[in-house]
């Protein structure tokens, strides 16, 4: 089996496994990065979104071979309690969740949006998150949190 090489959260990573394995299974099963969540296995809910390049992508229907040479960021690479990403701070400030299971995928969709569009309006945020499902109904808080983070990031 050929090795698959990519950058994961800034670290060069080599994986020797079946290249058809879904990226999500490699992240959760092989690398024990469980912040990326399984929701549907069909790319329909966004719970497993990660950033590849500057796009949020469902890791459950991305085969490992497709990330060869790519730059991947998962929720574990977004920030941590000591050095939180502005989105993470904003989601706490807005209390932008109920159960929180969908939140890591939503954070990645939002982070990808802010990479491309640092000052999105409500409609652009909703469009960027439209493939992420939230069952608890935290949507409006989530949109507010993304706006708050964007404002913080664009304030000189």
């Amino acid at each position: 089996m050929p090795d698959i090489r990519f950058r994961l959260n800034g670290v060069d990573t080599t994986i020797d496994t079946d290249p058809d394995r879904p990226l999500l299974d490699v992240l959760r099963g092989h690398l024990r990065l469980t912040g990326t969540h399984f929701g549907c296995g069909a790319g329909e809910c966004g719970a497993c979104n990660v950033i590849i390049g500057d796009r949020a992508v469902a890791a459950c229907d991305t085969p490992l071979w497709a990330v060869e040479g790519k730059d991947i960021i998962t929720i574990e690479g977004l920030g941590h309690a000591e050095r939180p990403h502005p989105l993470q701070r904003a989601f706490i400030a807005e209390q932008a969740m109920q159960c929180g299971y969908c939140i890591s995928g939503i954070l990645m969709s939002a982070a990808a949006l802010l990479m491309r569009n640092p000052a999105p309006n409500d409609a652009e945020i909703k469009a960027a998150l439209d493939r992420n499902l939230c069952r608890c109904g935290a949507h409006n808080r989530i949109v507010r949190a993304v706006k708050r983070a964007a404002a913080e990031m664009t304030t000189p």
Partner: protein
């Protein structure tokens, strides 16, 4: 009035089962209620910190476990603040008093001269001690007594404040907190094979291909229950796929015609109960009677995470990790199926994704216990697929509701009849002599499928929840017809029958008010005598500038209910836009939960409930053909998306002197009715069958 203990404390009176002071200067709080995404652990921590006079950062919330936690039944029915909240407030008030008494002894100071701040007890002359210093000599292994006085609302510091939820940092920083992320040494992965055809029996299975898959530990078959255990999750998925290919199934059991649910519901054998009957105090003459039928479909929980459980056997004992809403009740059912005394089973709660009632959490726990038998000593993690979650978990029951109103010559309501046809709204584990768990009906010596029933009216009722009007009508007869067949498995989903009944009542009276030429808000206020009910209606109406001028393509509607007729009051004004498709633009809501311990938590629950109800109303319907559930994915069972979500404004009427009630189910009924009434205002069409889709709008137009 004789003082009595709060119900949860009376059932679990030992103080140490609720609160323990630990040597590191923290307080371990051990409620029997569990976090299901509603923020309960934070609100309970606030109550404890207030009564004990400690910083909330010192409160450590323990996960519920049958090994150590008080038995508080099930986390459902918006009862956690009423039950756990009151118990903790009372227990902590008593504990504070016990420690102050002990401190007075030790310090030789009159108790009245002691002060308590962040757990440090001090008296005149700089003498101090603390909970932690005293905890060696003060035993909390004693039973709670009635009469402990909790602080008055005015002296609570944290209650009434929007303290940030204590679980949220873990969730944004991806610290493992969900059961799906639980890592245990030696973990194995299990998957269960279930038929697509409803009720089909497994006739044959060829194991050869599955046996060749790398990592396979065992293939287990017990009657028509079959599953695999593997060293890896990928291996378990692959072995399951191989097994599925090789399986042959019998024909299943027929399902109803999903194009006419009312006809199906009304044709089944039923058990009929009279829920309420009121005779008119004075005779009135009805000059006409209006009849309407309302229906709602089966609804799926459609939790974001597939149900998951872990089980580990050690000899004749088994440890279960589960996101069940009722760990003791689950244990009782597991004991029946596994043939073990309850003492041999420990069920430990670990958070799952948002839970809106009796979903697959309990079922998958039995799946895990059965599969883990194949690998003694090792923990086995079983996770359902998305399709399992959408098709195997119990559904919220479909309902058909007929309402009739007798009107007199002035079009005043003089008689009211409300009849419900529905399956029961609960078949939860641990409440009957037979188990309610899915695999119990599949094993070699199967238990019959538990036909769902309804909780008694005293507990809020089931199909009949919120069916008794809060309005002062002079006479009524409310009856409930519970189906004795259950081709589609139903159990508790948020509000039980409340959403359906409030939809029916609130849309019907809207129609009557309109026919009278009376403003629907004025009509409601005129028929209510409860001041808190009137206050939420007035607050929502005022905030929404009721009633905005009618503009082409938009409409406004109102809905109101008091959840269970004893819980939270909620009124909603909906603004919709529409022609062929309906969009909900804005929901303006007023809510009264009594004391709002964490106001932002209340707002979050109401917002979430409102958005979920909007999703139910505009999108959701479990689909099936005559043999199988066909809504198996998010594509077949769409829910509301970001671009479709309305603005939601919530006003909390704070009543800190009134005992708190829950907020999680208060919005669904009123939101449903407000949207449907707004659709009438917008399109002149009365929708009486949910969800509101293009097809149901066309059907309603043809009827009107």
């Amino acid at each position: 009035m004789t003082a009595s203990l709060p119900v949860s404390l009376a059932a679990n009176p030992k103080l140490s089962s609720w609160v323990r002071f630990t040597t590191d200067g923290t307080v371990a709080l051990s409620p029997g209620k569990v976090e299901i995404g509603q923020g309960i652990v934070t609100a309970l921590a606030q109550i404890a910190a207030d009564e004990l006079d400690i910083d909330i950062a010192r409160v450590r919330m323990l996960r519920a476990s049958t090994a150590s936690s008080p038995n508080e039944g099930v986390t459902s029915g918006s009862l956690s603040m009423q039950q756990s909240g009151r118990a903790i407030r009372h227990a902590c008030a008593e504990i504070r008093q016990i420690f102050l008494t002990a401190a007075a002894d030790r310090l030789g100071v009159d108790i009245g001269q002691l002060e308590l701040a962040d757990g440090v007890i001090s008296g005149p002359g700089n003498v101090t001690t603390s909970y932690w210093e005293l905890s060696d000599e003060v035993s909390l292994d004693r039973v709670a007594t009635p009469g402990a006085m909790a602080k008055p609302a005015s002296r609570r510091v944290l209650a009434g404040r929007s303290v940030q939820r204590i679980d949220i940092p873990d969730k944004v920083f991806a610290h493992p907190r969900f059961i799906q992320d639980l890592a245990l040494p030696g973990l194995l992965h299990g998957r269960v094979l279930r038929p697509e055809l409803s009720g089909a029996k497994l006739l044959g299975l060829h194991e050869e291909t599955a046996r060749e898959i790398a990592g396979l530990v065992a293939i287990l078959r017990d009657g028509r229950f079959a599953g695999v255990v593997s060293e890896t999750e990928q291996g378990a998925e692959a072995a399951l796929a191989a097994l599925r290919k090789s399986a042959t199934w019998s024909a299943g059991e027929p399902l109803p015609d999903d194009s006419d649910l009312a006809a199906f519901l009304k044709a089944q054998p039923v058990e009929t109960s009279v829920i309420a009957a009121k005779a008119a105090a004075q005779s009135a003459t009805a000059t006409r009677t209006i009849r309407r039928q309302y229906t709602r479909p089966y609804l799926a929980h459609a939790s974001m995470a597939p149900s998951c459980a872990l089980a580990q056997w050690s000899g004749e004992r088994v440890h279960i990790w589960s996101h069940s809403q009722g760990i003791y009740l689950l244990r009782a059912d597991l004991a029946i199926v596994l043939g073990l005394p309850v003492e041999n089973i420990t069920v430990e709660h670990v958070e799952g994704a948002g839970c809106y009632g009796h979903n697959g959490a309990d079922d998958v726990a039995l799946d895990a216990a059965l599969l883990a038998k194949a690998a003694p000593g090792r923990p086995v993690r079983v996770q359902w697929s998305r399709a399992d979650e959408m098709t195997q978990a119990p559904f919220g029951a479909a309902m058909a509701i007929d309402i009739e109103a007798d009107l007199d010559a002035h079009n005043d309501i003089v008689g009211w009849r409300h009849a419900i046809w529905s399956n029961g709204h609960t078949a939860r584990p641990g409440r009957a002599s037979q188990p309610a768990l899915l695999a119990a009906t599949e094993i070699a010596n199967p238990f019959p499928r538990l036909i769902s029933t309804n909780p008694p009216q005293a507990n809020g009722g089931g199909a009949d929840r919120n069916s008794v009007p809060l309005y002062d009508f002079p006479a009524w007869q409310i009856s409930s017809h519970r189906l004795l067949t259950m081709p589609i498995r139903t159990s508790a989903l948020r509000t039980l029958g409340g959403q359906g009944n409030v939809f029916a009542i609130e849309c019907f009276i809207d129609e009557i008010a309109t026919a009278r030429g009376e403003d629907p808000v004025a009509f409601r206020l005129r028929h209510l005598s409860d001041g808190r009910a009137k206050d939420v209606i007035r607050a929502a109406a005022t905030r929404a500038n009721w009633k905005p001028a009618r503009a082409s393509g938009t409409g406004h509607g109102i809905g109101f209910a008091r959840y269970k007729n004893t819980g939270a009051y909620c009124a909603v004004v909906a603004e919709v836009e529409g022609d062929a498709d309906i969009r909900v633009k804005r929901l303006t809501i007023a809510v009264d939960v009594g004391e709002a311990v964490n106001p932002d938590g209340v707002i979050n629950q109401i917002e979430g409930g409102a958005i979920q109800a909007t999703s139910w109303v505009l999108k959701e319907r479990v689909r099936f053909d005559r043999a199988r559930i066909t809504s198996r994915s998010w594509t077949d069972y769409p829910i509301l998306r970001f671009s479709e979500v309305p603005e939601v404004e919530v006003e909390v009427i704070q009543r800190s002197e009134i005992e708190p009630v829950g907020a999680g189910e208060a919005a669904h009924g009123p939101v449903t009715a407000a949207i449907v009434n707004a659709v009438f205002d917008c399109l002149d069409v009365r929708v009486r069958s949910l969800p509101i889709t293009r097809d149901s709008l066309i059907a309603a137009m043809e009827l009107s």
